[in-house]
């Protein structure tokens, strides 16, 4: 075996020591970290840029939409107000107490043995009131004129009861009269009477504002469909 002498061992040791120099290694590590931070900075900057682009786009869109949305809101309020007013008006028209059918019922109910001399009727005093008053005065002529007047009261009560929810009637006066009338060739005694009717023409629970709100809701639902 030949003898091998390494004359460069000192130089190699120095080279190895230089390569393992902690300062050099530290500087390399710092350089790698610095490069990583720079790359991270650019990644964050790019991400921020895309966020900024999105933000600017949305901001421009909002700037454009905001006045339109405000105008749309005020127009919607205006339309809702008109719809509510229209519904309230329609409700007001539909909730009127119509007198022609009432007069017709009275005409049908009064027999030929009774002559009405006075009829007065009043609608409910306001939108919340439910009752109406009706008063009839007249002369009944029959063998039993008081009974004839009572028959009229019952008949009118029943007739009005078909049209309205509740009817209460009372004789305000019922007096025998000293007058006689000739009917169908017979001389009949008479009685004068006044009958008051209290008629419930609408429900107590009805809310005048409810139809308007319901109409607005209906229109909104229709628009949504």
């Amino acid at each position: 075996m030949p003898l091998h002498v390494n004359l460069y061992h000192e130089i190699q040791r120095q080279e190895l020591a230089r390569q393992r120099d902690p300062l050099r290694l530290g500087m390399l590590a710092v350089l790698v970290i610095a490069i990583g931070f720079v790359v991270n900075y650019f990644i964050v900057m790019e991400r921020g840029h895309s966020v900024a682009v999105r933000y600017n786009t949305l901001n421009d869109e909002w700037t454009e939409l905001q006045p339109k949305a405000t105008a749309a809101k005020s127009r919607q309020d205006e339309l809702n107000s008109e719809i509510a007013a229209s519904a309230a008006m329609m409700q007001s028209v539909e909730s009127r107490l119509l007198w022609a059918p009432v007069l017709d019922e009275i005409l049908k109910t009064v027999p030929r043995t009774v002559q009405l001399t006075h009829l007065s009727a009043e609608a409910p005093s306001n939108d919340k009131a439910t009752n109406s008053t009706l008063s009839v005065s007249g002369l009944s002529s029959a063998v039993e004129p008081r009974k004839e007047a009572e028959n009229l009261r019952m008949a009118m009560g029943a007739s009005l009861g078909k049209k309205f929810k509740h009817v209460a009637s009372v004789f305000k006066s019922l007096d025998d009269s000293d007058q006689y009338v000739m009917l169908d060739g017979r001389r009949l005694p008479t009685a004068s009477f006044t009958i008051d009717f209290d008629v419930q023409v609408r429900d107590a629970a009805s809310d005048p504002a409810a139809p308007a709100a319901a109409a607005t809701r209906r229109v909104k639902e229709g628009a949504a469909e």
Binding site: D21, L23, G26, V30, I33, A34, F37, N40, Y41, V44, R47, G48, V51, A52, R54, Y55, L58, N59, E61, W62, L65, K68, A69, A72, K73, R75, Q76, L79, E82, I83, A85, S86, A87, A88, M89, S92, V93, R96, L97, L98, W99, A100, L103, L107, Q115, L116, T117, H118, L119, S120, A121, E122, A123, D127, A215, R218, V219, K220, A223, A224
Partner: protein
Amino acid sequence: MKLEQDQIKKLGLGLMVLVALLYCYFTYLLGPLEQNERNQASGISTLEPQIADAKTQMAATAALEKAAPAATAFLANVKNSIPDGAPIAWFPPKIADFFKSHGIDKCTTHLVSEEADAMPGFKRIVWAVDVPRVEYVSLGKAICSLENEEPLLKILSVSIDATREDAQYQHATLTVSTLVKS
């Protein structure tokens, strides 16, 4: 491996520079960038629902705009049906003409009162309509037509009295109220 004094100093200095660089990096470079991004992301999260709401609002209004003419047609018709000018000038002749067209020649109308109506833009006027000589059936038919043809008119009270002169005729007084433009 054993570090020499000089190397330890260099390492210490290097560490200090590194810390300073890290501080500067996070404080002056990355920090503002991320703060700006957070602000804009927050702005986006605020703007997105606002834009969605605005679009919903505009769509709802557009839909309501389409549906509204049908819903408000009644009110528009009512407004158009009310003549312009002072009601005292047009209402009594209108009622007189109406009754005349139903065979009731004589009729007088007087203003009783006027008050603001709950509906904005309208007021309610109460009138007394006096019909001195009328048959019950004719009056009933006229009232029927009046109620059908004049939706804004409400008959508040009816009073019918037999006339002494002729049992066939009655004397009627109607109290009516009607809506007019205020």
